[in-house]
Symmetry: C2
Subunit: 414 residues, 2 copies
């Protein structure tokens, strides 16, 4: 008889066991497995697309989700190319430092894999392959719980990757898919202490909240991005328009897009009409405070709830403030410590902003959209941490590792 608790525990136990053998493999072997996975994805494109069609044709999938869910030959090629890019990155595992204590003890701090990384994410099948390849590269087994709308696609993707692993004599449990996509299964997954070393939720505020409330394993919170741009009274207004429009409209669905614009009262009358005209070209809906609406009549009112919302859409809240302090207070109240920007030509204003805003990335005169592992030069990204422990901001390969101390003696006692 199927028992959910047994299923989840055994799945994690198998991943844990696989992680022990994976942790000691050379970079060459792990890269060979990644290359084999890339090839297998390309060779099994038809089967992947067939499974994806089943997911796409399920009734009730929100239209907004369909584009993220869809795989075609081009996307599969891109996914395989991303796997090869991960293989080409330097391996962070094994490096370290070493020192000798006065009593002769030799201490080595060695970089090692975390062990088993669990990921809970939404209906984006590319994340299944991304997460698996980043974990494999860093010597971690992974337990993947993707969105239920992508389950058929994920089954085939995981199957293809696991066969490729087996061909390279890896334990296929290095890539473990949670086939049970019930809420109960996910809740159990979050509580596998001793089997899961870190849980990384990637998704909206509701998912992050549920994980934070319920998880009993260590968590890296990611992705909640209620980002602001403050247009200072000394801003270059052309730059301000260009950066603000870019930060909202270039890709509104991502976490580094701006959600609220804070505009200094002294330049609001000049700036807001310029900005509104530029934003209108992207059909951005503006929601403003009373003073914004006095300058831009006809736009909707912004409520406190608007200021707290990550729209992930072509919607932007706008608020006129009397001072930089008021802007900073607003940001520290509503922000999610992700990415915050000021546009100014004034050194003191820039310094005050840097000093007072508590966020993973603080920008002066640039778009918040740059908070990204690739844009920061990290080569790959497992997510963007909005917490302060372990990793903050875009997480590269090193964020999937930890350290341990090797201590060598000749009988030292204390």
């Amino acid at each position: 008889m199927y028992d959910l608790t047994t299923y989840i525990t055994e799945l994690c136990r198998a991943a844990k066991s696989a992680s022990r053998s994976l942790a000691v493999l050379s970079a060459a072997k792990k890269n060979a497995a990644l290359e084999r996975i890339a090839r297998a994805l390309e060779e099994n494109g038809a089967e992947i697309i067939a499974a994806n069609s089943v997911d796409m044709s399920e009734p009730g999938v929100p239209p907004k989700m369909l584009d993220r869910l869809k795989l075609d030959e081009n996307r599969i090629r891109a996914i395989a190319a991303a796997v090869r890019e991960v293989a080409a990155l330097p391996d962070p595992v094994g490096g370290g430092e070493r020192w000798v204590r006065p009593n002769g003890l030799i201490i080595t701090r060695e970089r090692v894999p975390l062990g088993v990384v669990a990921m809970i994410y939404e209906a984006r099948p590319n994340v299944t392959v991304d997460a698996a390849s980043l974990c494999l590269k860093t010597g971690n087994a992974c337990v993947l719980r993707g969105g239920k709308e992508a389950i058929n696609t994920n089954r085939v993707l995981a199957g293809v990757m696991r066969s490729a692993l087996a061909e390279e004599d890896f334990d296929p449990a290095c890539i473990s898919l949670v086939d049970d996509v019930t809420r109960e299964g996910t809740a159990l997954l979050m509580r596998q202490r001793g089997l899961i070393d870190v849980l990384i939720p990637r998704g909206g505020a509701a998912l992050i909240k549920s994980v934070v409330e319920n998880a009993a394993v260590p968590v890296i919170e990611t992705g909640a991005g209620n980002c602001h741009i403050y247009i200072d009274k000394y801003a270059d207004l052309d730059m301000a328009v260009s950066v603000a429009v870019n930060a909202k409209a270039s890709r509104p669905s991502v976490c580094n897009a701006v959600e609220t614009l804070l505009v200094h009262a002294e330049i609001a009358e000049e700036f807001l009409p310029l900005f509104a005209a530029a934003a209108a070209r992207y059909n951005v809906e503006l929601r403003g405070c009373e003073r914004t609406r006095a300058i831009l009549p006809g736009i909707n009112a912004a409520s406190d709830e608007d200021y707290a919302t990550e729209y992930n859409d072509f919607i932007l809240a706008v608020k006129v403030v009397d001072s930089e302090d008021e802007a900073i207070e607003h940001i520290n109240k509503y922000g999610t410590m992700h990415s915050e920007a000021i546009i100014t030509r004034d050194l003191a204003a820039a310094e005050l902003f840097r000093r007072s805003v508590d966020a993973a990335a603080v920008y002066v005169n640039a778009s918040t959209r740059f908070t990204d592992g690739g844009e920061f030069g990290f080569g790959a990204e497992i997510g963007i941490s909005t917490q302060k422990l372990h990793a903050r901001g875009p997480m590269g390969l090193a964020a999937l590792t930890t350290t341990r101390y090797l201590v060598d003696g000749n009988g030292q006692i204390r």
Copy 2:
């Protein structure tokens, strides 16, 4: 009317506010405040000892706790000296790296304080000053919840430190003591998301478990140390006796003391009587498996529960194993990933142990007792992390910091 929720929330809110001003202070200012605290502790010794006498004379304090609880002039001098040692350490805040992206964005990764650090610990008043000084040094406000048996002492210690802070024009809320030592207050403290940046529990397994189960803020687990020493068949038996006795008897109450000895069958008959004789000099109670008891008749039997127990006492479980693999399996089953040691002259045995044991510190031919910030050369220690995120093993000052990215542009968009 007193409302517990309001009390805890307001306490944390005041600490959060204080942390913002503290975060930007120079090392010189923070060190001056530490010096002022050290002096104030020395000058107010009589008041501290008087409060401590009240705690010591409460009925029902377990005798084992009395020694940890007690303060006298010597101990206060030692506590003040420790504060001055912390002041003398290099300040980790503010350092970082910087690089320029092809698009001209200048990215700086800056080391910054965590913000508000909450500590929950037992009835050791020295921890109140230790924790406060390490947090102050690293620019963090702290919220301290010490054991209820030490509440009178802690009130005076916190009062003395807060007055010293006020004299240096610091916000006294930089050092906040939770005056309500009920379970409900502690449970509320663990859930102050947005106000507490990290929670560090220091105490026994029950405290750690409660925190892991109930906390909604990020946690660094510390201190649970079910440590093992494996005596390999190729061990130098004199060294094995010396190290094992030291690891058990030099200070059994601490987390890096050994709790179970695993002995290879081939040398058990020679080793165990030697060891038992040496351990007897410290009145160590041995509890053994059947094979151990066949060699050392008269000792008690060890159960599975014994193997899972961190005695923190002059008690040691002993098990004879047929192979190193069996020892490693035992360690990975019962260990708490703290400190694990092998005694051997065999290179392959040492390598297998290092490769297979998953712990913060893995020793070859030395006592587990060296897992300690001071012994590792870190200068100070806020605790020993047994988790893999953020910090692992002894945590020095850097573990009380995080990083953030400052990104400077001239209008870059993506």
